[in-house]
Subunit: 208 residues, 8 copies
């Protein structure tokens, strides 16, 4: 009763970053802010490192929700950027879906704020259209653990795969022989324990 | 292997509020009382805002279970109100089911106290009769996290969708262009962080 | 795509209490001891109240595992009592299975110590033989939350239903008109908050 | 070695509300937002109920810190309101201290955001000048439990008394015979469990 | 710089049980209800076992606060019982203080609901009058851990000693040779792990 | 709708230990280090006790990841040991898969660091090739509970069974009559509470 | 207002291990059993390493409390061993105090089970007699965090210093030049993270 | 009984950073690594911003403890840097104390790894010599919350003041009019919520 392993393929993946806006981020309380900021930027670095087509979208940037966090704006200057005029589910916005389909990819990495809305709604819509959806859980945030668990349950039951940004990076990379230094640096920049390992190692090998 | 996205449709939804009684509420210990009160009233405001037909039911209001919380009674003066003579599963009460069927809706939002009984039993019964059931998890309470997890597992395995009240509101609204002020006010009334965003924004835009 | 609601029927249920032994109980650390003791005795009272056939089994009572807790022994003096000579999965013991089949019931309520072994193994075996299995999660204990979650995941994936003792009692009773005083007393004995409600109520109605 | 009990005296108390601003509130993560909002408003209601002179102060209302939460502004329209031009420790602002001394009270109730700065600094300054200081801990918020514990340790070692808003209200009131209805209503408005008790009680006594 | 050890002396101790009322108990959320009920009854059993003079007091038993829990009423039928007409700090009630002074004891064990009011206020008053006060922390309950910590900090700074009921029993008993069976039974009745040890032991020694 | 119980069979099981390296272990923060070390060594002892063919693999032992923990190296001197030249998913390494297939077993016990990569990837690959996979969850570690939950969700949805090392040992052993002393010693070495039970028992039986 | 630093001096320290008995250990639930076992054995290794005179004592070894854990008995075969006939506070036993005074030391390291009794009582007695007392908090265990906090509060207020076994070892050793290998091995045996550091280091330096 | 407020004075403060080494950091488990890294770098930025004389010290950089984290080395290239040859308490090293005394400051900010040793020992020594010591608690780390609480208790009882890095910065700065932009940038770099406030604000004011 085995089934095929739906595995991330760096040639077939697009990244959707949904509503990581400076105001909305104050709603995120299921992850500590230091860690959450780090996770989102790690995912952005993964998108850049693997040259994954990335689509940005926001909801009412000029109002209380606030602008997209400037770091993301700066990191993806040429990415399609859809400021939705009102649709809550980004997938209800034609331009957003067009931008995704224009990438020609069938695997989607989705992260956003808040999990049960900005992530779950496009996830469910994309699954319904036949995409393979991988939720980057730790780059997505919500009000508390209870709302998170409900959101995960709903997405998982619909067929989405729950991932962490680290798992995503590893599954995309597949083999360290493709490049050690680049990905190693990315990990060192976003995992303090890993940076410590590398610095201890560097010290000892320099000492030889 | 994609499947359709069973999505809340404000024209096809009824709300069931089961046993939010003043005595029974003292049993709820998986959510902090301040937050729980807020969640239940938020769901009530959603029902009012979207003009969703709402059905109220209680169990032994005259005994230790206590009366329905007065705020709910006041907010839905014309809603069918079924004081069950003894049935624990509200679905076993003919009047309750009749009231639901009279709405002509096939999607049900259910919340109640306690989760594994007053929510889970009608949820399982409604699913068995072909309704689409959405559990408003954070407007439902129980003894502790362990009993909650067991209840969620049972309902989820049977096909119910786990939601938060915020997710419900967003999925019902679909597009902010339908109305910004009304829903924005509802959110500000029930999400202190959101109210803060709005007040900061108002201050700055007034200042122009 | 609805499916029938597999619902506890007091005429078709047997209770299996597996290895609640005085020594093994010291291994239980996912539930506080005061609460766990209360949960187990509540389940025993449910079995007595609904006159459910009950099967007791233990593993090496004469060794470090210790004897069955005396309260259970005292409450079910006539229940089949299988001191297994070595089988870890109680279902591997013919006498145990015979005792269950002799009840003629097809729904099984299982609780025991520890969850991933004494509960999960017979649960999986019983499901494989076509029984409907309801795990009384809060009358079952294990080393920590991590082992509990793994055990629940395995049993739930195999089709067992996760319940609490309170949910079990309510689903068995169905209607308070069957008897208010007996079940009310049972709840008051095992739910301090409920006892408080009843005492407050009694005071006020006496005062009339 | 007994010492006198330094007890709140409603005739000798002033309330200081420091920097409860809409922007700064997004920094508070040691208390859930629903509960924190409730605690702050409860303290405000206490100040009003006992007619305690109240002093408001803010830091850079026109910048990112945001305005004082409008509810407080509305509740104390005539209170001294010191928009500090830059002093971080409110006690370094002469107008603030003057406003306090003008009340003629020697007991101070202090709450604010964030605890280790906006509360702790004026607390330490006031103690040094001989005031009796009572910190309303649950109407004060900070980044996390660790920074809160450090702040409490510092203030407690300096002689401040750690209180909750409920303890404050009770110590000020002293005797229910002074007024049952007013304070009872205040408690019902801010303690859902208490409101439930009152509603259950009302139902039963009405029923007589 | 050593100081004398202020040690409980069973000949010089009185027990004060303050406001353990059926309604007020619904406010206690810093301890699980099963455990809290057990702790309070354990303290009551200690008072009986050591024949400590015990004083009961309540606040508005006829209103929403509810009656004293019946178990306490039944266990101390002859104890002074002060239904306070309004004083929040029980020490402000002359009859209460008279009843305490009538015992002729100078060490007081205090427990009650809620900790920062019903326990802390009489604790501070009694310390100020020169009594030695021992707070039975786990037989006292309050809204949450934050209010508890504040209450402990205040009482500890004033010179009260923080105890658990188990520590109290052990310090009063001093030597098991005074009586093994009585206290052993008390412990077995209130510490499930201890009961298990005793039952395992009994089984093995019987088996000899 | 019953299905067969996929049960561990000691004659058909191989153990895969993936990347338990001294550097990578510093990344594990979802389990306390004392407990995690104990769990991993318990699993190793299970492999030895049941003489299960075991396959070891590591990733870049000479770099910051560090060497395999020496205890594992010492315990399995003759086990296939695959130092992967770069593949992140061990299953992508032909030697690793060959070593597994050479055992002729179709049930795999997998543990490793970190869970969502070193455990999840080979788990998903093995399931896709028709193996029965049992994840030893508590001998596998990752960054935090959130990444663990996502990893479990993904593996469970794909058909892996979530186990604890204790559950694994019990399901493999099946009957204590196969050997009491050996497995009892293993349990005593890795479960302090169990060792205590055995020592208490030994004392009493010696005393006879 | 500076005061002298009361610092552990390895020439002036005795170690008291109170009631680490196999039965009583089942009561310890404020520390995970794997970690607690490790902490106690680490303290024993410290006593051996620094050749600190050590005094063992137990309460009713032949009853349900069970024997002293055999590892301690084996490690200190020549230590004074006082099986108390009944005194709960070990300091009430003349032989125990004599054994301590015979060491001629004035600094005492105390650890035991349970914290608020077996540790706190002798701690308070020893302080009263002028000893300097250092509580090894993590080698002492009790029922839960609440009882632990109360016990710490009482001992700390009386002048005891709260330590961890690691802090004790470091303060006793003072300078690594006294011996690197011995203490390093002790740390590696009891701190998995430290062992990992050492193994990573050994690998790299061997590789030179 | 008021006492003077011992307040940080930027002209009289030196900063001591003790043993923030890449290996030792793997021992820190009472704070999440992302947050801890941020806290330490925030403290470093405070030292730079206020031009506080800073002293660095390490223990066995060439061994398993690993080198000082490179960011600190880079940020304080001219700071006294004491590689201790063996003293565990940095204050036992003459060069370290000389470097501190050479600054001429009498207030010390201390942070390090691990809290109960590298922070507590020099804190206690410095207090004994009459320095005013402020522990930067959240830039100091240790094994778990229990060892942290013991360490805080010991330092606090000796007269050290417990602070957070944010409190330190605010108490040093005193008045925003000294400089808004510099400190605002520092806060934005280390408090994601604050950065969000500033970015939201910038967007709106730019929009004018």
């Amino acid at each position: 009763m085995s089934k095929p392993y739906t595995r991330l393929d760096k040639n077939d993946v697009a990244v959707l970053l949904v509503d990581h806006q400076t105001g909305l981020l104050s709603l995120v309380r299921d992850i500590d802010p230091d860690k959450f900021k780090n996770n989102v930027l790690a995912l952005a670095d993964i998108a850049s490192y693997f040259k994954l087509p990335t689509v940005l979208t926001t909801s009412f940037e000029d109002g209380p929700n606030g602008p997209l966090v400037p770091e993301l704006k700066a990191q993806f200057p040429d990415a399609p950027y859809i400021a939705r005029p009102g649709q809550i589910n980004a997938w209800d916005n034609e331009d957003f879906v067009k931008a995704i389909k224009a990438t020609g990819k069938k695997q989607l990495l989705i992260a956003g704020v808040v999990t049960e809305v900005c992530v779950a709604f496009p996830t469910l819509s994309a699954l319904a259209e036949g995409f393979e959806v991988f939720v980057v859980t730790d780059a997505s945030g919500t009000f508390n653990e209870m709302t998170r668990q409900a959101a995960w349950d709903r997405m998982s039951a619909a067929g989405a795969q729950m991932m962490s940004w680290f798992g995503v990076a590893c599954e995309l990379h597949r083999d360290w022989r493709n490049d050690v230094e680049g990905l190693g640096t990315l990990f060192a920049n976003h995992i303090p324990d890993y940076r410590n390992l590398m610095n201890s190692y560097a010290q000892l090998t320099r000492a030889k």
